[in-house]
Assembly symmetry: C2
Homo-oligomer: 489 residues x 2
């Protein structure tokens, strides 16, 4: 569970907006200060992308989003926040000015900087309370990439670092604490090295921007999404391992394989050359389109890494587990004399086929989520599953009543049709915003001993919960589609 209830965002560009979305979508209220009158529109667009991506990424239910408000002063923004994130331009004097304003209002609140270059000791110069300041450097898009480099200086209070280390994982983020402060921390030193080399290659006509991107994304980029540098090379060393690899590769350090010793002159010609090549490469997509393509790909990559789980997929798995647990908490009163309303959804763009309608199997996707919500409601939580018990759907009968378009809000109505010691039979009605029936589902569930791989009796607390629901639902009429077969023709 998140330990934050309010976060303040100072500076609302791509990075500040990404932080705002990450916080808000995890149920944290956000106050933004940015003098740019366009900030609400820009952050609104980042938020829309973030919501779309995060809801696709997570199979677990996200909490009710926090609100995003726009403050007219830094003092107003930071009031009552437990986390203040600064993402203003990379100008040290500007950051110092902003820090003075922040700490005049909230000197003891954690103040994280999104800086990619400055050391925390530089940020702390002249600060009212250096102890609450540290670097918390995220990666774009902040709402999807887990990494946050946490860099304390000697003046950063240990409690500040500890608070940051505890606050980020519940947001689905991966804090990486850097042992000693250094310019550009860790990752950006690599990015800077590659950037310098890439500029030379373009300038010298060895490769275009597109060819350089291809050299990365068709090759080692696919490796680095999962194992990074050293583990990749450990594997590449084969049976002989890391020392063998180093013995092979080490001597290359003295080869003149790089122009890194020299810095390319950053002329207008070089800027035009690169910007022109980039237009040729990517100009047929708008930036917003590219963002959505990037996000969809990231969602797919993160979900693929979740299978083991491995690396960033492990972070995602832990995040979802926590979200699922959180949704079990909080006891909501339900009226068992009417069908249950436990699940709602919205048709995502990627659920739609070439006809513009929700694809056939996504109906079962939504019904399956509604079934999960019902099972959670009757007590099938992680504690239950940890005992080697689960409940599987063994049979489904779906009627597709209406076509459904992207963006359509879906409300699910669930009725218990019967149960015995091992089985649960229920139905769902999927309705649109005006109550119209879009589809119906009837489902048979079986209690399973997951270790033995066979059916078993339902266990506490499920039978009692089912009995409580059944007391009301047994007097409801069964819908006419229940118990029916597909008719012969």
């Amino acid at each position: 569970m998140t330990i934050l209830t309010k976060a303040a965002i100072v500076g609302g560009g791509v990075i500040g907006g990404g932080w705002a979305a990450r916080f808000a979508l995890n149920g944290i209220d956000v106050a933004v200060f940015d003098p740019d009158p366009e900030a609400p529109r820009k952050i609104g667009e980042v938020y829309a992308n973030a919501e779309r991506a995060l809801r696709t990424l997570c199979v677990a239910p996200l909490p009710t989003p926090g609100t995003i408000t726009y403050a007219s002063s830094i003092a107003e923004a930071v009031e009552g926040a437990q986390w203040i994130q600064e993402s203003v331009s990379e100008v040290l004097a500007l950051k110092h000015k902003v820090y003075a304003e922040i700490q005049a209002a909230a000197p003891d609140t954690l103040l994280g900087s999104s800086t990619s270059g400055f050391k925390p000791s530089e940020l702390q110069e002249g600060a009212a309370n250096p102890g609450s300041i540290l670097v918390a450097h995220p990666f774009n898009p902040v709402y999807l990439l887990p990494l946050v480099e946490l860099v304390p200086s000697n003046a950063t209070a240990p409690e500040t670092l500890a608070f940051a280390q505890a606050a980020l994982p519940p947001l689905g983020m991966k804090p990486l604490t850097v042992r000693k402060e250094i310019d550009a921390h860790i990752a950006d030193r690599f990015l800077e090295a590659v950037w310098r080399e890439a500029l030379w290659l373009v300038k010298d006509g060895i490769a275009t921007t597109e060819e350089i991107d291809d050299a990365i994304r068709f090759g080692f980029g696919l490796r680095w999404a999962q194992m990074g540098l050293f583990e990749t090379y450990r594997v590449a060393g084969g049976e002989a391992g890391m020392k063998h690899f180093m013995a092979q590769f080490g001597p290359c350090l003295t080869f003149p394989w790089t122009k890194l010793m020299d810095v390319p002159e950053f002329t207008d010609e070089l800027v035009d050359l690169i910007a022109g090549q980039s237009d040729t490469q990517s100009g047929h997509h708008s930036i917003r389109e590219l963002e959505r393509i990037r996000d969809d790909n990231l969602v797919g990559i993160l979900q693929a890494l979740k299978v083991k789980p491995w690396g960033a997929g492990e972070t995602l798995a832990a995040y979802e587990k926590q979200l699922r647990e959180a949704s079990f908490g909080g006891e909501i009163k339900h009226d068992y004399n009417i069908p249950l309303s436990l699940h709602s959804a919205r048709v995502l763009p990627e659920w739609v086929d070439y006809n513009g309608h929700m694809t056939e199997f996504r109906y079962l996707h939504v019904f399956g989520d509604a079934t999960d919500a019902f099972l959670t409601h009757i007590g099938m939580n992680s504690a239950y599953m940890a005992r080697g018990r689960s409940i599987y759907t063994v049979e489904s009968h779906i009627r597709h009543v209406q076509e459904v378009a992207a963006g359509k809000p879906l409300a699910l109505e669930t009725q218990l049709l019967g149960y015995d010691e091992k089985r649960v039979r229920l139905c769902h009605i999927m309705r649109g915003e005006n109550g119209e029936v879009l589809a119906t589902g009837e489902h048979m569930m079986l209690s399973v001993d997951t270790k033995a791989g066979k059916a078993c009796q339902l266990e506490d607390p499920i039978p009692a919960k089912l009995a409580a629901i059944w007391e009301g639902h047994q007097s409801l009429d069964a819908p006419d589609f229940a118990g029916r077969a597909i008719r012969e023709i």
Copy 2:
């Protein structure tokens, strides 16, 4: 279709073995020359990993594998080959010696070098036929990563380059032709830059090997798997685009953010420090285990990128399309006296839920694809739909018979149960590799006028095609699950 029938591999280490597997699994016979008596065992292990990974990667059927044989001389290995790939140690004198032997036997055959450092003009020094020599630099694992840097020198014959450019895509590979020869080509210049910087960070105690890997794989590594450097930054520039990004980032080139100007001394202490940290980080997995983890992750990432398709996923999609067309090439005769086999699939990593089993709705996903294959078979193609006619599923009854894990191959069996002027009723049986029943589906389809949004009669050529199938299928027994309802409890 591949234009190769035989390839020769000279040097059978991790890279040579990867080439051997890539060639053989694409139906090309391979002759290996490597004086190491362990070479057959090592290549056998690489091949086993490659087969496992490639069969999971591709939904389309791979051709019958080529044979791998071990030659006792270079002359024997290269005889009759259309492609000779050299992957011996990075020692120029050794390569020259090997090239002399190769070209004594096969002077006109394409000779590609896996070198990561040498320029083609260096390799060609003293060669009998420099025109057939070029760099063909792959990336480990060669059987999964698509990239091959093709680097010709001025002495390389244009036909040699053209042959390489044509031969690689049918193997699922992505040739990237480097415009001018340069030490280390393109990608390895970046890897070398990051490697140098990483050695400094470890040496100076800023980060361990594991922390460095995490700084990559939880952050920009996830971006580089899909967009590389320049396109990522184009997006990061936000609405203002590439020039804005460069204006922000350009001045950093003069910051002292890197130790790249200086080369760390490659002492035994540094080697021990890194090897020790790497053991701590990854030593609990054997190299073979790490290889399989890496391969599974790569398969998942590549399949995730295939959804758009994008980058390496586009290469995979094109590869599968070609495999599928090759396998369906010409008119396949279907026997209408037995159920139809029109669709097969493999359970994707992202289809699996937190229990490790295929999620409920993915069963309908696979049945829906099988229904699409059936509809295509009876003539519902893009021309039919362009007339404003389509066929929608209106009802489905699914029985989940067995749990199914990621990677499981699925074979679909389809039977026509009946049809009339507007409707089609059919069923699918989903079977595993041993014929075991995993799930069943029964489906009712309705012919729809998509403009009017209502039911309409099926149109040519569909009724005739249905009649032809029905002539055989009407005498098949209907499966016992057909026409059945979910039973009451």
